[in-house]
C-alpha cells in the first residue's frame, strides 16, 4: 500500500535530498497528517516501506498450505497467483503505458503454447525448464514488440481494436493450426496434451499427488511473482518508468520534450507481454495441457476487472484486485457461499456508507423492518410465496427476510431483474430524501433478485458481477482502490 502515497516511504528522516524543496517534499504528508493515537498508528503504517509489505504478504501467503490441505483451495490459491502475475503485466501496459491493450491474454496464450511446444511429446522436444522458460519469455517480449510495431501510430481506441483483432487472430491460428500447410502445429481445438511439468535434469516438479494439487507449484508461482513484482517496481522507478507516466499523461508534451514516445510504447507492450508469457509457462506446466479457448475474452475481462478494481498504475493495487476477484469468482460458483458474500457485502456497504451519513443507518434499519413486513404480509396472503428453500450459509436468517416463491412463474425473473436495473438507475438520478426512501425497496429488491434469480444460475451471475464492478468503478472511482489519479490532458 505504500506506493499509494507519492512520497511517503522514501523521504529520508533527516530531510529532503539536495535539490528538493522541503515543503514540496513533505506537502503530501502534511496534508494527510492525522491526529490522535489512531492517527499516529496510521502514520506508522504508512511509513512501512513497500518491501516490508511485500515480505509480509509473501509470508502470509506461504503459510496458506500449512493450514489448508484441500487440493482445491491450493489450486485456487495457485490460480490467484497466476492472476496476480497477469494483473502486474497488464498494469505495465494499461496503468503505466496508458495503452488499452485488448490482446493481452493472447500473450498469456502464446507463452503457454510456446512452453507446450518446447516441452511435450508434440514435437518430441523436451527442453530443460531453465532453458525453455527464458526462451518463452523472450518470445513473449519479441511478440509484444512486434504487435506494438504497427500499433504504435495508433492511439486510444484504434489500438484497442488492433489488439482485440490480434487476440482474434491468435484464436483463429491456434484452433486451425492443426492443418497449417499440411502440418499439425498447434493441435487445433484439441490443444496440446501431456505437457511436461517443470523439470530440472531428471527431477520433475510433480503437479499432483494422488490427484491432490501439489503445493510446490504454488511456491514456484509465488517466487516468480516476487521476482516480477520487484523487477517491475525498479523499472517503474527508473527513468523509463517516469517517462512512461509522462507520455501517458500527455504524449504530445512528452514528445515535445524529446522523449521517444513510440519507443516507450513498444517497451511497455514488450514488458507486459513478457510477464504474460512467463505466466503462461506456469499455467501450461501446471495444467499439463493447453487449449485455444482458455485464452479468450472472458479471461481478458477478468484480468481487466482486477487491474481496474485495484487501481491501474499501482502495483499493490492490481495485486489486491487479483486477490479479491479471483477467490470471489470461485466462491460465487457456490450458491451458499455466494449468499454469504452478498449479505456481508450488503451489510458492510450500508455500514460503511452510514459512517458518512447517519440517514443511511436509518435506511438500513428501515430496510430490515421492510423486509420482515413484506415477508409476513406475503406469507399471510399465500404461503407458497415464501415457501422456497434456502440452502447453505445464512439460510436461517434470510428465510424470514427475503421472499422466495416455491415456484418461480416465468415472468418473475425477467420482471424483477429489469425492475431492479430500473430502480438502481432511478436511485442514481434522484437526490435527497427521495433517494433515501427509494433506497429501501431497491435494497430489498436486490436481495430478492439475488436469492431467487442470480443464485439459480451462478455462471452468468458471477460475470454480471464483474460487468457491474467495471461500470460502477469507472464512474465512481476510476482510479480503483489504490490507484493513482490520472490527469489526462485532452
Amino acid at each position: 500500500m505504500s506506493d499509494s502515497t507519492p512520497h511517503g516511504s522514501h523521504v529520508p528522516a533527516e530531510g529532503p535530498a539536495v535539490g528538493q524543496d522541503e515543503w514540496v517534499a513533505r506537502h503530501a504528508e502534511q496534508r494527510f497528517m492525522p491526529g490522535g493515537p489512531l492517527g499516529a498508528l496510521e502514520d506508522r503504517i504508512r511509513r512501512v516501506p513497500w518491501w516490508a509489505w511485500l515480505i509480509l504478504f509473501l509470508a502470509a501467503a506461504s503459510t496458506l498450505p500449512v493450514f489448508e490441505h484441500s487440493g482445491y483451495v491450493r489450486y485456487v490459491a495457485f490460480s490467484t497467483v497466476l492472476y496476480m502475475l497477469l494483473a502486474l503485466g497488464l498494469n505495465v501496459v494499461v496503468g503505466w503505458g496508458g495503452l488499452l491493450d485488448l490482446g493481452y491474454v493472447a500473450f498469456y496464450g502464446i507463452g503457454a503454447y510456446a512452453y507446450a511446444m518446447l516441452d511435450s511429446d508434440k514435437f518430441g522436444i523436451h527442453l530443460p525448464t531453465i532453458v525453455s522458460v527464458p526462451l518463452v519469455v523472450a518470445i513473449g517480449a519479441i511478440g509484444g514488440f512486434l504487435l506494438g510495431l504497427p500499433s504504435r501510430r495508433l492511439t486510444g481506441d484504434y489500438l484497442a481494436i488492433v489488439t482485440l483483432f490480434f487476440l482474434q487472430l491468435f484464436q483463429t491460428i491456434t484452433t486451425n493450426g492443426d492443418a497449417a500447410f499440411g502440418h499439425n502445429l498447434t493441435g487445433g481445438p484439441n490443444g496440446i496434451l501431456n505437457v511436461d511439468p517443470f523439470h530440472l535434469g531428471k527431477h520433475d516438479l510433480v503437479v499432483q499427488h494422488e490427484g491432490i494439487f501439489a503445493v510446490s507449484y504454488f511456491y514456484v508461482a509465488l517466487a516468480v511473482f516476487a521476482v516480477v513484482f520487484v523487477a517491475l517496481r525498479f523499472v517503474n522507478q527508473s527513468r523509463t518508468g517516469r517517462a512512461w507516466r509522462s507520455q501517458r499523461e500527455d504524449p504530445l508534451a512528452a514528445e515535445a520534450m524529446g522523449m521517444p514516445v513510440n519507443w516507450l510504447k513498444l517497451l511497455s507492450f514488450s514488458f507486459g507481454a513478457a510477464v504474460a508469457a512467463l505466466t503462461g509457462t506456469l499455467f501450461a506446466a501446471q495444467s499439463a495441457s493447453v487449449f485455444p479457448l482458455t485464452f479468450y475474452f472472458v479471461l481478458l475481462i477478468i484480468v481487466y476487472t482486477m487491474v481496474i478494481l485495484g487501481g491501474s498504475g499501482s502495483q499493490a493495487g492490481v495485486v489486491a484486485g487479483a486477490v479479491i476477484v479471483s477467490p470471489l469468482l470461485e466462491l460465487l460458483r457456490d450458491p451458499g457461499k455466494s449468499r454469504v458474500i452478498f449479505f456481508l457485502a450488503l451489510v458492510g456497504g450500508l455500514l460503511l456508507m452510514s459512517r458518512r451519513s447517519r440517514a443511511l443507518g436509518i435506511v438500513a434499519i428501515v430496510t430490515l423492518a421492510f423486509g420482515f413486513a413484506v415477508h409476513e404480509i406475503l406469507g399471510a396472503i399465500d404461503k407458497s410465496w415464501i415457501a422456497g428453500e434456502h440452502q447453505g450459509g445464512f439460510a436461517g436468517v434470510t428465510d424470514h427476510w427475503v421472499v422466495a416463491p416455491a415456484h418461480m412463474a416465468r415472468w418473475i425473473a425477467p420482471t424483477s431483474y429489469i425492475g431492479l436495473i430500473a430502480a438502481v438507475l432511478l436511485v442514481t438520478m434522484v437526490r435527497g430524501r427521495l433517494r433515501l426512501a427509494l433506497l429501501v425497496p431497491t435494497v430489498y429488491l436486490t436481495a430478492f433478485v439475488w436469492e431467487n434469480v442470480m443464485l439459480a444460475k451462478p455462471e452468468p451471475a458471477r460475470y454480471i458481477v464483474l460487468g457491474v464492478i467495471l461500470i460502477a468503478l469507472m464512474i465512481l472511482r476510476p482510479n480503483g482502490l489504490l490507484g493513482e489519479r490520472r490527469v489526462e490532458i485532452v
Binding site: 494527510f32 486451425n176 481445438p189 494422488e210 490427484g211 479457448l293 482458455t294
Partner: protein, 392 residues
C-alpha cells in the same frame, strides 16, 4: 476516503474469508480414507450447463437428478446431486478446475461426466490420480478409451459407444442404405466435430465415395457461403454440430438454394425441438426410449418431474450413468461392510450389471476397454412433421 477504502477492503476480505470457512473441507481427501456409507455422498455431473451447449446440461441434469431421486434410497444411499458447469465456449479448462474441486471434496466417491470429450481428456488424469471413477454419458471420442495413445485413464468409463462405432455406422448407412456418390463434410474447428468428420470421411473414401471437406469457425452462424460450396449433385452434407439449431439453418439454406443434398447430423444435433427439417438424418447412441416397454415407468416418472419437456436422447444415458455410479457405490459399500473408498468404488464399476438397461437390453462391459459391450448407434430420419423415425 483512505479510511473508507481501508474499511471496504477489510469488509471484502472478511466476507471472502467467512465464505471460504463456510463448510470448507479442512481434511485432506486422500483416496485411501474410508467414507461411511451412511453419510451423505456428493454425486457431481460435469456438463455444459451454460453456453451454446447448455441444452445438453439441462437435459442430462434433469435425468441424473431423477435417477438419484428414485434409485438412491432403495440402494440404501444418501446422495446429494450437484452440477458442474463446463461451457463449451471456454474449452476444456473449466473441467480441470472442477476436477480439483471434486478431488478435494471427500464426500465425492465417483463423478458423472465430463459430458464432452475434450473435457474428459483434460481432467481424466486428475481423477485417476485420486482414484475417482468418472462415468460419461455422452463423450464419444474414440481415442479416449482405444488406440495406442489413450487420452483418458483407466478411471474413465462411458455408457455409450464411441465414435469408433458412430463414424463407421454413419458412413456405412450412407454407403449401403442411401447409396451416396458425393458427400460434403463439415467440421466446426472444435474437437468433437473434427474427430467425427475425420472418421466418417475415412470410411467413405475407402468405399470410393467422393468427399469434400469444409471447415467453419465455431462462431459461425450464417452458413450461406458453405451452402454455396455444396455441389448440386451432392447427396449428403455431414454436419456433426453440437448446436442443433445450426443444422436446422443449414437444411433450410440448402432448400433455399435448391440443393438436393440432405443434412446428416451426429449425436450432437439430436434435438427434436431444434433440428426438425424434414428429410434430414441424425445418428445417436441411444434409441428413442419411449418405444421401449421396460422404460415406460421411468419415462412417466421423469415426465411428472419435468412437465412439458420432451424426452431427448442425451437424458436416458445420463440416467444410465447415474444408475451405474449408484450401483457401484452400493456394491463397494456392501463389500466394505458399511464403509468404502474411492478405490473400491472404482474397481466395482465393471462389476455392475444392469438388467433391462434403459437403452434397451442389458448393460454389460467390454473386457478390453471401459466401453459398453454390444452397444450400437441408431440412425433416425426426420419426418416432414419433425418426428424422428428410426431407420437404421
Amino acid at each position: 476516503m483512505k479510511k473508507a477504502i481501508g474499511l471496504a477492503l477489510a469488509v471484502l476480505a472478511t466476507s471472502v474469508v467467512a465464505a471460504s470457512a463456510q463448510g470448507s473441507n479442512r481434511i485432506a481427501a486422500v483416496s485411501a480414507a474410508g467414507v461411511n456409507c451412511k453419510s451423505t455422498i456428493t454425486l457431481p455431473l460435469v456438463t455444459p450447463v451454460t453456453g451454446g451447449a447448455g441444452f445438453l446440461g439441462a437435459e442430462q441434469g434433469s435425468w441424473s437428478k431423477y435417477a438419484v431421486k428414485t434409485l438412491a434410497k432403495p440402494l440404501g444411499l444418501k446422495v446429494k446431486f450437484v452440477l458442474g458447469d463446463t461451457p463449451v465456449e471456454q474449452g476444456p479448462a473449466p473441467a480441470q478446475a472442477l476436477a480439483q474441486k471434486y478431488v478435494a471434496d471427500k464426500s465425492v466417491l465417483v463423478v458423472l461426466g465430463p459430458s464432452t470429450s475434450g473435457a474428459v481428456a483434460a481432467s481424466s488424469s486428475t481423477y485417476y490420480a485420486a482414484k475417482i471413477a468418472h462415468i460419461s454419458p455422452s463423450a464419444t471420442r474414440t481415442s479416449l478409451t482405444q488406440g495406442s495413445s489413450k487420452e483418458a485413464t483407466p478411471a474413465f468409463f462411458r455408457v455409450v459407444p464411441g465414435d469408433y462405432i458412430q463414424g463407421p455406422s454413419d458412413a456405412n448407412f450412407m454407403i449401403k442404405t442411401l447409396k451416396v456418390k458425393k458427400v460434403v463434410l463439415l467440421d466446426f474447428q472444435e474437437p468433437y466435430s473434427t474427430g467425427l468428420s475425420d472418421s466418417v470421411e475415412g470410411v467413405l473414401k475407402k468405399a470410393g465415395v467422393s468427399t469434400t471437406r469444409l471447415s467453419a469457425p465455431n462462431t459461425t452462424t450464417d452458413y450461406s457461403a458453405y451452402v454455396t460450396k455444396v455441389p448440386s449433385d451432392a447427396d449428403i452434407v455431414f454436419f456433426p454440430t453440437q448446436k442443433p439449431g445450426d443444422a436446422q439453418t443449414f437444411a433450410q439454406q440448402l432448400v433455399e438454394q435448391g440443393k438436393k443434398a440432405k443434412v446428416f447430423g451426429g449425436d450432437g444435433s439430436n434435438d427434436p425441438s431444434a433440428f426438425k427439417a424434414g428429410g434430414s438424418y441424425v445418428s445417436n447412441f441411444a434409441p428413442d426410449i419411449t418405444g421401449i416397454k421396460a422404460d415406460a415407468a421411468i419415462v412417466a416418472g421423469w415426465k411428472k418431474e419435468n412437465p412439458g419437456k420432451a424426452v431427448g436422447s442425451f437424458g436416458p444415458p445420463s440416467y444410465g450413468a447415474t444408475q451405474v455410479a449408484l450401483n457401484a457405490i452400493a456394491l463397494a459399500c456392501k463389500a466394505g461392510h458399511g464403509t468404502t473408498t474411492r478405490q473400491a468404488v472404482l474397481s466395482s464399476i465393471k462389476k455392475v450389471k444392469i438388467k433391462n438397461w434403459i437403452l434397451g437390453g442389458d448393460l454389460r462391459w467390454s473386457t478390453k476397454s471401459n466401453d459398453p459391450l454390444n452397444a450400437k448407434f441408431y440412425i433416425f430420419q426426420i419426418q416432414s412433421n419433425g418426428a424422428y423415425k428410426l431407420v437404421g
